[in-house]
Subunit: 196 residues, 4 copies
């Protein structure tokens, strides 16, 4: 079994997650600038979540470039990852609606953490399927970025109850880490000569 349908289904879901967040911008009844003000924190959390889903889509794209054949475990770990990602629109709206108060900010981080964990589980399923010469294993190495992100999420969740602004800052920093171009996949794919 190839990866076509898995990729198309995941793309569809990620596209919908992004657009569902836009639905949370309730259209204000008035048409003055002050009617727009309450939307500012919502737009900020939308921008953050858009970037996160964008990063995941990008990484998903790269990840499945190393995969030629799909197993049952890969299908289900991918669905498990999408489950956690599907909660992002809710946590985004709750955090935005409540202007970065403690609990919503912590929950936002918890869902990000679970997405990262689910991503790790999916990587593990792919590596296991690929066996000893796993392309993916070569590409991610010790997965420093993944591990640092997880630690930062935990710090942010803990700090949310004292300083939610700091947590929001940490979420932004983690996004930055991933936005920096990641050459690992391109290098390894080039070496192995796998073209799409």
């Amino acid at each position: 079994m190839g990866t076509n349908r898995l990729e198309a289904f995941s793309d569809g879901m990620m596209a919908i997650f992004i657009t569902i967040m836009v639905l949370e911008f309730k259209v204000p009844e008035g048409s003055s600038a002050k009617d727009l003000l309450p939307l500012v924190p919502k737009v900020m959390s939308y921008v953050l979540s858009f970037i996160y889903v964008g990063i995941y889509w990008n990484n998903h794209h790269h990840l499945f470039h190393t995969v030629k054949e799909v197993s049952g475990a890969i299908l289900w770990t991918n669905l498990h990852f999408l489950f956690w990602l599907s909660l992002i629109p809710f946590t985004t709206a709750w955090m935005g609606e409540n202007h970065f108060t403690p609990l919503p900010t912590a929950l936002y981080g918890l869902v990000l953490l679970m997405c990262a964990v689910a991503w790790g589980v999916m990587q593990w399923a792919i590596i296991r399927k690929q066996g000893a010469n796993s392309l993916l294993k070569k590409a991610i190495g010790r997965d420093l970025k993944g591990n640092i992100s997880a630690v930062l999420y935990v710090v942010a969740i803990a700090s949310a109850f004292r300083m939610p602004v700091l947590s929001a800052g940490i979420y932004a920093v983690v996004a930055m880490i991933w936005l920096v171009p990641d050459r690992r996949f391109e290098r390894v794919l080039k070496e192995s000569g796998k073209a799409e």
Copy 2:
């Protein structure tokens, strides 16, 4: 006619069914833990339905691996199956909103039963098109899993009016039955040498 467009259309619909369910999580106005509490039964029914749609997507994937050419009957029995699946977000929300009371729990089971029946009809249309040496027929055999599921759904619907908790338990058990990896398709496809 190939199966590409049918698969893409079905994938799109299944991806949307899942995400529509998330829209039912109304964002609470407050930001304390007790504001989240009413969401617990909704999340529970979402998890259950996510797994069901995931299983169907997975099985759809396997099913159409045995199909090379699509007929009008296959197109329409597939749409008929998607119709029943499209009602899952509604029954999920109703059951979650009402904390597993009798009628919503029974209706949830009825829609699952109709999905299973519609799936059986679609299998029949595929087998009929494939003729005497139907790959699918070999793969499903007497379709024990499908038949047991249907019986369990009927039991759960009946028990919903006395013990809706038992019904919810039965729905979870049926999901477990299907989550266990199904080797039938892989075996038969391998034997017939059909690669994607």
Copy 3:
């Protein structure tokens, strides 16, 4: 330019139109049978519209089997068709919400009529692009089904102001006409030896 992206985009939109209609089933607050009753006319109009969108998806599938190359006119007449189709969730909800009263029932028919007209315009753009030996022209001939449907829609719109029930019946009859398998495309495609 091939037809891949046009087909995928149209499939995505049609899948969303169907699922948007489900969002209109407001989840009842109570959990008794009488809480479900107000949903009956909504479900009825949903079933009707599901069948209509299903028929159009099916026909779109067949139509673009005759098309090898896409022109600007085909792209835009397809978008124009999707515009009218995009109004179906609204007219479906309005008709269902108001239990088949005159104006909503007439508007429902008007949008169906415009979809049919837009479909005809798209067929014309395809035939014009295909030139003298147009496969599509051979397949549809005088397009009896399309013309009869348009006449029936006009009758139904007119009758909606006196007997909306009759209009609803006519919409169902037109759907039946299209559900009957259409051999025209299969025959012509077979003759021309075009395989997917």
Copy 4:
């Protein structure tokens, strides 16, 4: 890396943007003609936005015909473009809800302007990747249409605070400019002999 997944993801998002706008047509409670009246400005702004998203989908289709290989910069400038496009359903609803009052009309134009800017950035990323003999560079030349549109958007945003009707007219004019068939891509692609 090919352009398949990028195109499919973008198509999915654009299809959803269009359909989200339809969700803003709140179904009226009554069923008389005067219940429909408040929808008229909403439908007008929907038609305008449908045409804009349609134009962008069309141009996206053409643009990526010149692209054979995707870089990280192309992936991210495309996501950046989709971000601005994702705000169109909100500005459309706000402008329609408020009957073309100054601020909503100006914001509508601002988002259109940002879409155009993001589009320009994406073109620049593609041209940079394609190098000296960039097909895209040949196709767009000095990009007169893109530059005129940007100027017109700025004029429309400024005029919104005095004469929002004029702004709406300018938005319609810009759409017209793009609806006129654009032969640049077809010509350049033909010359370079690139077939899909």
